[in-house]
Symmetry: C2
Subunit: 249 residues, 2 copies
């Protein structure tokens, strides 16, 4: 059914397992990562798709306790500010969450984007100046899934002031940090995302997020049925939509 270009069932299962079992890691073991493992992850990232084949990414591997400590201080400051966005129960929950493992993780990795890699104009940027940044995110996801297959945890820390991060890592303009990641072995890959587990947000039902032909366009019967079936098969769709979810009209 899927033609000669499809993978063996076992290889295909590997891809779906990595997708389903990938987690945002915040707790790390002190064990060092082997250099070959790190090289494979960087290689996976470097095979991300990129607009105009510009490969706009660079990778800054951070091992030193000194740099990690500076970044951790940045995080603490930013978290304190962001905590002010929430009140009551929500505020208490926010401040109770462990949101990073910067110092504990053996490796931190900053993935940057150079939107001018091949000069000021590039194929596919004219109408999408954000495209090089989007390409870099796809590269990060490659790394994240490869790491899962290797049994390596990855956590993305977005609670950081960008200008300060640029200063610490000495990024010249127009180099932009896209992702700040913590990498290392983990005690476990938890069953459900932590923010789902603690009740911060529910898993949204996929069927409520799919339209056809246009915004709020109704699903065909066949697709609705297939979405339903897929959900039952994987058994991982236990959430429910809350008010914020735009239900199908």
């Amino acid at each position: 059914m899927f033609g000669g270009s499809a993978f063996s069932p076992e290889q295909r299962a590997g891809v779906y397992e990595a997708i389903r079992k990938r987690r945002d890691a915040r707790v790390f073991l002190p064990d060092p990562l082997p250099e070959e493992g790190l090289a494979r992850l960087l290689h996976a990232a470097h095979h991300g798709p990129s607009v105009g084949y510009m490969q706009p990414w660079n990778f800054i591997v951070i091992r030193s306790a000194e740099v990690k400590t500076q970044i951790k201080a940045l995080f603490l400051r930013a978290r304190q500010v962001e905590a002010g966005d929430f009140t009551g129960e929500r505020h208490n929950l926010y401040t109770s969450l462990k949101l990073e493992g910067i110092v504990e993780a053996p490796i931190n990795l900053c993935v940057t984007c150079d939107p001018t890699r091949f000069g000021p104009v590039g194929l596919g940027h004219h109408f999408a100046p954000e495209a090089p940044f989007y390409s870099t995110c796809c590269a990060v996801q490659n790394l994240w899934l490869a790491a899962r297959a290797e049994g390596i945890g990855v956590g993305w820390v977005s609670i950081l002031e960008r200008e300060e991060l640029q200063r610490i890592l000495q990024l010249p303009s127009p180099i932009t940090p896209v992702a700040y990641l913590c990498l290392g072995y983990v005690p476990e890959f938890v069953q459900r995302p932590v923010l789902e587990e603690v009740g911060w947000a529910p898993r949204l039902p996929l069927a409520a997020l799919v339209y056809e032909e246009r915004w709020e366009g109704e699903q065909t019967e066949a697709l609705r049925h297939a979405l339903q079936h897929e959900v039952q098969t994987c058994g991982c769709q236990k959430g429910r939509a809350n008010d914020a979810t735009r239900e199908k009209s």
Copy 2:
């Protein structure tokens, strides 16, 4: 070496194969995609990582020839404008490239981002308003890799005027189109990316893109060695840096 959380060698190979053999598809076969296959791909996307677990994405499945024709017209107009960014040989090469398969692909898919999914504030956005868009890109990459494992081609069309796309798909503010994708079976997954094959841009050498501790920070001997070894093992690093690549100092 990789602990109990690692995958079987075959499953792990599946992940790396998907990463290495994923291509940006522009040529499609007319065969329809099975609805279950499409549902699995959407499911893969929905398991992307998201800042504050906000799952900011929606998926608009486009099958109608009428909508595809409108989008194709958008593309043609945008391509004509973008072609003006290039001169001489480069211009000729640009206009000779097939950059999309909008009308031929059985399915088009617009992946959108709602940066306000759970209200105006969310965990991790305060210092990174771009984070929901980045999450959506990671979801797209999940779908792209799952599609490769299924033997389904995916092409990302970024040469489109965003406001016009929003109008055609009736996206209300602040819903933003992040990716416009073409999906379908393909005659082949080409060995090398088309833009590399035709000489638009070379594959950059990974080792030139990796720093340690800070921008332009020198690699440790161990990492340099591992990067070199990984390149030889996979045999896919035939490009060379051009002037635009920032070589290590």
